[in-house]
Amino acid sequence: MESLSSLLDGFGTALTPLNLLWAAVGVLLGTAIGVLPGIGPAMAVALLLPVTYGLDPIGAFIMFAGIYYGGMFGGSTTSILLNTPGESAAVVTAIEGNPMAKSGRGSQALAAAAIGHFAGGMIGTILLVALAPTVASLAVDIGAPDYFAIMVLAFIAVTSVLGSSRVRGFAALLIGLTIGLVGLDQMTGQQRLTFGSLQLSDGIDVVIVAVGLFAIGEALWVAAQAHRTAGESIPVGQPWLGGSDLRRTWKPWLRGPAIGFPFGAIPAGGAEIPTFLSYVTEKRLSRHKNEFGKGAIEGVAGPESAASASAAGTLVSLLTLGLPTTAVAAVMLAAFQQYGIQPGPLLFEREPDLVWGLIASLFVGMVLLLVLNLPMAPVWAKLLRVPRPYLYAGILFFAAVGAYAVGGEAIDMVILLIIGVLGLMMRRFGLPVLPAIIGVILGPNAEQQLRRALQISDGSVTGLVNTPFAVTVYVVIAVLLAWPWLRRLAGGRGRSPEGRGGPGGDGGDGGPGGGDSTGGDGGDDGVQDKEDAKV
């Protein structure tokens, strides 16, 4: 309860007019920057670092936290409305959010995202207050073999977003994995697929890939159909969430933090993996599975909540251990050091005003974001009324700015364009884009953790399964994979049609692919059967 009184003191700090102002400036700037494609929260915080030199540390960090949370939020707006995620964590939101916008439910998607963001952030921050030291010490116990096990699980989960044609889904995944290979090998520093170019040796930034495949790819795709759709404008629709929407979204809002928060606390690559896992979970648990891919509101609510909660989880490790688990956290760590403050085990004792003021300002920022963005949802949705040429010219413009401003190298714009053309080609030939992005994110992560685990165990393969955590995850995977057979043994029958994937393109579905896919769908069937039984 000591933390509760400290938190109240924190509110005393956060609610002074000046600090409230910084929080508001932070969330506004963050939202604005998050909306632009190609400039994610990490870049935003890093760029604004010098701006805050004049502020006192508490004011500066309240503003940073606002930028971080606001940036995570802003990314989803364009994701939903224009299918152009502003940053990589908002990619998943586009999958269901954009179809919703196209069918005139853009405001609902934005509202579901805003409330999901609020709920996730609130729950995450409450967990931060209540559990910070515990979570932090648990996070430290998770090592390379455990991360690798999680990555394997995530790869299994990919099989449920491959789309109607598994072979095309796999093709997209492999394209992503290939892009992920580019660059110096993380363990030995050898060049892979760089063709001797130093520019490529750090690999292709996942933000460039996300913006290229989605934003540029989408703009070119729209251009390819320009003459056909020129006159049509997208319906904006009714502004508020109806009762049936609320019934479908409240559970995903609450489930999101369960996935996002722990992932934020561990160094597993940021908010991309938890948002994706949340999406897969919602898809599996939903009663409206057939709507997924065509605008299921659960697929917006869950991932947004998870993304926001993961930001809170990130702060747990940063504040209690001085351990940056994401790029944003690394920049914030540097910012702390700029003020002569060292985040770590002693921070709560040494700088109680700052820490609790910062935590309280997270609550304040979250409320500000909701208050600002919920009424804004219908206004944002009107963005769709901007004439198409301006809209997509603007997307190309800002994508170019984002790519160029990061390094000041024109070559980054060329890489962006090449990936954009790839995105257009994928749209044209029916390769799903999501598996490609997942491949870019998961591939390098999984390889690094696998090889690090083997390095630590001095080359012994047992090093992959020598922790209880990893063993547990593998058992879960085994059960998921074996589920269809287990059910068959128990005499269960009747695969639901949705579980099988669409009718198209299954002709060439080979043995290994089929095996994976049944694994991915096993859980679906179980739930589906229960639903059927009820009906």
Partner: protein
């Protein structure tokens, strides 16, 4: 890559016809479109070969521990690319189709490849011109050019919108964020 470009070139040639007349199912064009998906297969095959050849020409280093080295993952990815390329080719030949973004059969809709090529060209030109002409000029040209390519023809409004947007972005980055973008030929003259 080369197959891709020839493929899209052939598309652009037939684009005007396609726009005027919806393709009849089972016609020669339909079969050609089915075959155009084989281009994806060839592309995957080429990428697979590229990945594998890059991997096998990689120098070896000594300090690898365990069965997984810098070559393992590229080999797995490369071989999988070859397998998927073959499986996809078989699928296409059997009449399988990818489903495009809007849930339509891939390649069944007429496409305007001229606009796409124009947009890509404008973007590429912007990448080339940004250093000599500076960001505000290039950004404005990129915006106006893209809007023009996408069908906007308001000559008294478009250039102004483009210039104001580009200039405002330049100002925001330069003064607010402290990210220096190239200013153009008049920097240092005035």
């Amino acid at each position: 890559m080369s197959t891709e470009s020839t493929d899209s070139a052939s598309e652009s040639r037939e684009a005007p016809e396609a726009a005027t007349r919806p393709p009849a199912p089972g016609s020669w064009r339909e079969r050609l479109r089915g075959r155009s998906e084989l281009g994806v297969s060839v592309l995957l095959l080429l990428v697979g070969v590229l990945v594998l050849s890059d991997t096998f020409t990689m120098e070896t280093v000594a300090d690898q521990r365990g069965p997984v080295g810098p070559r393992t993952v590229p080999i797995v990815v490369g071989v999988s690319l070859l397998v998927v390329a073959v499986v996809l080719a078989v699928d296409v030949l059997r009449g399988g189709r990818g489903e495009s973004d809007q849930g339509e059969k891939a390649g069944s809709e007429p496409a305007d490849w001229r606009t796409v090529a124009l947009l890509a060209g404008i973007f590429l030109a912007a990448a080339v011109l940004i250093e000599p002409l500076g960001f505000p000029v290039t950004g404005a040209l990129l915006f106006w050019g893209s809007a023009y390519a996408l069908g906007s023809r308001n000559f008294s409004r478009d250039p102004l919108i483009a210039a104001v947007l580009s200039m405002a972005t330049f100002a925001a980055f330069n003064t607010l964020l402290g990210v220096p973008l190239p200013g153009g030929p008049l920097m240092g003259v005035l």
